[in-house]
């Protein structure tokens, strides 16, 4: 092939352009730490990164729901634990005056003691966190339990909120007051009526209800405890899922720095060689030898 000056310059420039663009790519990979500098570098990879970012952001939200649910259920558990203790105290107190030897006066003062403990239960049932009643079902903005005389009325509803803590996994977050406290109030009221009436048989019958009330509470606590355990398990599962998704994302979009640096050095050498070769090629033509 007949080689003209323009061909030789064009080939030199084309080669140099390609090398410069390789160098620029390596340079950008090093400075940004990213392998995917443009969508066109890997359209499917870029699309996958979008999906992974959405998944990771979803995981963060599940994590935060998990924290919120854990806090909520822990508060519920604490309240139920107190309820259990108070009910046991009431039972003990009531048992002390259950025999025929007890007098009306003693039973009256016992009734006062039980009322005070009942009020304690009432305040537990009206547990409020930041203006939010946790035992009110969905009526979280108004006091769920009110008392008139000895009659305790529930104004909440039986609604249970479940929260999403992993894709498609929902955990019940609250226990409505009707489930948690209604039985306790009924049992206490029966005891109070019996004490007020100084009725030994009724007192013993009322005390007999306590074991089923306490069993009911421990069943609810067992459910709460298992939900808390489930949340703890999911939390560690979420965190390992997050680790693997992050690794996948990094694999797709992050540059291998060592590789990029090697590429940069290689390209640099090639550019030097190309420049050197060009100076040699372009050094002479026949005109240089014409006297």
């Amino acid at each position: 092939m007949r080689v003209t000056d323009s061909i030789s310059y064009r080939n030199f420039l084309t080669g140099l352009d390609a090398l410069n663009s390789q160098m620029e790519t390596a340079n950008q990979q090093i400075s940004t730490g990213k392998k995917l500098l443009s969508l066109k570098d890997s359209p499917s990879g870029s699309a996958e990164v979008v999906k992974l970012r959405a998944q990771l952001s979803g995981l963060d939200q599940y994590q935060s729901n998990n924290d919120s649910g854990t806090a909520y259920l822990s508060m519920t558990d604490t309240a139920l634990n107190s309820l259990n203790n108070i009910l046991t105290s009431i039972f003990t107190t009531g048992s002390g005056v259950a025999s025929d030897t007890s007098t009306a006066a003693i039973r009256t003062s016992t009734a006062a003691e039980v009322r005070s403990l009942r009020d304690h239960v009432l305040s537990l049932a009206n547990t409020e966190v930041g203006g939010h009643y946790i035992f009110a079902g969905s009526q979280t903005l108004s006091t769920p339990f009110t008392i008139a005389g000895d009659t305790v009325t529930y104004h909440g509803d039986p609604a249970v909120n479940s929260i999403e803590v992993a894709e498609g996994v929902r955990v019940n977050q609250n226990v409505p007051g009707s489930t948690a406290f209604q039985g306790a109030f009924n049992t206490i009221n029966a005891l109070l009526t019996a004490l007020d009436g100084n009725d030994t048989a009724a007192i013993q019958a009322a005390l007999g209800q306590f074991s089923s009330a306490l069993t009911g509470i421990s069943q609810i606590r067992a459910q709460v405890g298992s939900a808390l355990g489930r949340l703890a398990d999911l939390k560690s599962a979420l965190s390992s899922e997050k680790t693997s998704l992050t690794a996948r994302q990094s694999q797709i979009e992050d540059a291998n720095q060592a590789e990029a640096v090697t590429k940069l050095t290689q390209t640099q050498t090639a550019i030097q060689a190309s420049l050197k070769a060009q100076t040699v090629i372009q050094q002479y033509n026949l005109f240089d030898f014409l006297a």
């Binding site: 061909i7 870029s46 979008v50 009110a136 909120n161 999403e164």
Partner: protein
């Protein structure tokens, strides 16, 4: 040679011819770096025989240039493709910047934040701060749809501006080609440098024209080129050119020639690339955004209306409802997307009839992120990922084709230069050739001079 005078005349012609050769060489050397210049060669013909049967020295002197019309046509072809793909690539790089924003400020981030805010609300439905956050994230999502749409539409409008500029450039070039056609017509067959230069220049303009629009051309008997678009719209005939006109129909420009709309018939070159990007690619992306926005608005609104708000009232529209401008068209949905509510208490997080602490509806609203309600059975995020994939692939295709075209073009230009280009070594050799011939002819003049001196001496003057 019949007389010394005849001999001198013959030698003078020879000297002139070698000088002419040197001039042509000079012209070649001067244009070693001129793009589109075809190497010229001094062409000599021997003189006719005299009546005595002796040669009369050098005859016709003309210029010939090295030009390969087949390579020219192929170069033009490839220039069209390159112009097209480069135009597409340049526009898509701008689109990419809009969609692939860093720091989660893109649509993906806004979509995730929006659904997450409902999920967060489901954990504490009566919390006003979380409700406010849903309003903020809904607003951010609507604004992100507005921004993405408007910015991509901005790229589309910029394409329109370039289309007008390119049409003007094309007009300047076709005008130039028509003028050069006139010159070539006058000079055809003259064998002059003027003719060679006019042809070179016209070819250079054709190259430039090819990178702007897809063309075909053929040569008439008078050496003039008739240039049409690939689809047959006449651009240059003889010394006349037909100008492209751009006229606005609604929002986008139409390209016309001689009153006929040829917008959809321009397929390549920069203009073809600009039109393709504007009318097919970018239009497609905008449509995808509109469809996504419309689907999202209608699904979120429908679900929101099923629940009860903080005060126990039925939920209204969450986003401003979108009304299709025509059946099946979602045009405008992304651009106009906006919140219908601003009061955090108006968010219907609860099931109908439930209290403010119920999260049933918030949970379903958060779950819309996993609903496959978008085109091709995609979730919101998959729909967005699909758009990213489409833009990336369009960009990659344009880039690959542009690179391939550039390589082919380099090869073809090398081939063309191998035939038509100037090589300085050759020119140096030619200089030596002409110089030696000149010296020889000069020597001949000297000999004739000596001969005539002899005769004059004999005559005793």
């Amino acid at each position: 040679m019949t007389s010394i005078t005849d001999g001198l005349y013959l030698a003078q012609r020879a000297l002139y011819a070698q000088q002419f050769g040197l001039e042509v060489t000079q012209q070649n050397v001067s244009n070693v770096n001129t793009p589109g210049y075809s190497k010229e060669r001094a062409d000599f013909a021997p003189g006719d025989l005299t009546s005595e049967g002796i040669g009369s020295g050098i005859g016709a002197i003309s210029v010939d240039s090295f030009r390969n019309k087949f390579i020219d046509v192929r170069v033009n072809q490839e220039l069209q493709g390159q112009g097209e793909h480069d135009a597409v690539l340049a526009a898509l790089q701008q689109v990419e910047a809009v969609l692939n924003g860093n720091g989660g400020q893109d649509l993906q981030g806004a979509l995730s934040d929006f659904f997450n805010s409902f999920s967060a609300l489901s954990a504490k439905p009566d919390d006003l701060a979380l409700r406010q956050d849903v309003i903020s994230k809904g607003t951010a999502l609507a604004e992100e749809f507005n921004r993405a749409y408007n910015t991509i539409q901005g790229v589309q409008s910029a394409q329109d501006g370039e289309i007008a500029d390119t049409a003007n450039e094309i007009n300047t070039l076709t005008d130039g080609i028509a003028q050069l056609n006139a010159r070539v017509g006058r000079l055809q067959g003259s064998g002059t440098q003027d003719e060679a230069l006019a042809v070179d220049q016209r070819q250079k303009l054709l190259d430039q024209l090819s990178s702007l629009i897809d063309i075909s051309y053929f040569e008439s008997e008078s050496g003039q080129y008739t240039v049409t678009t690939k689809q047959g719209a006449l651009l240059v005939a003889g010394n006349q050119s037909q100008q492209l006109q751009t006229s606005s129909t609604g929002s986008l420009l139409r390209v016309e020639v001689g009153g006929a709309d040829i917008t959809s018939r321009i397929q390549s070159g920069k203009l073809g690339g600009l039109l393709k990007t504007r009318d097919t690619l970018i239009s497609g992306y905008l449509q995808t955004l509109d469809n996504m926005a419309a689907t999202l608005i209608s699904r979120v609104n429908a679900q929101h209306a099923l629940g009860d708000d903080y005060g126990g009232q039925p939920g209204g529209s969450f986003f401003v409802p979108f009304t299709q401008p025509a059946p099946g068209s979602n045009a405008g949905a992304a651009r106009t997307m906006a919140m219908a509510i601003s009061d955090p208490k108006a968010i219907a997080a609860a099931a109908s009839g439930a209290g403010p602490g119920d999260n049933t509806n918030a949970l379903v609203l958060a779950g819309i992120k996993d609903e496959t309600i978008f085109a091709a059975g995609a979730t919101a995020n998959q729909a967005y990922a699909n758009l990213i994939d489409t833009v990336g692939n369009d960009e990659r295709k344009a880039d690959d084709l542009s690179q391939t075209q550039t390589q082919i073009l380099t090869q073809l230009q090398n081939q063309r230069d191998s035939f038509s280009g100037v090589n300085l070594d050759e020119e140096a050799t030619d200089i030596i050739r002409y110089q030696k011939a000149y010296q020889a002819s000069a020597r001949f003049v000297q000999v004739l001079n000596t001969l005539s001196d002899e005769i004059i001496n004999i005559l005793g003057y």
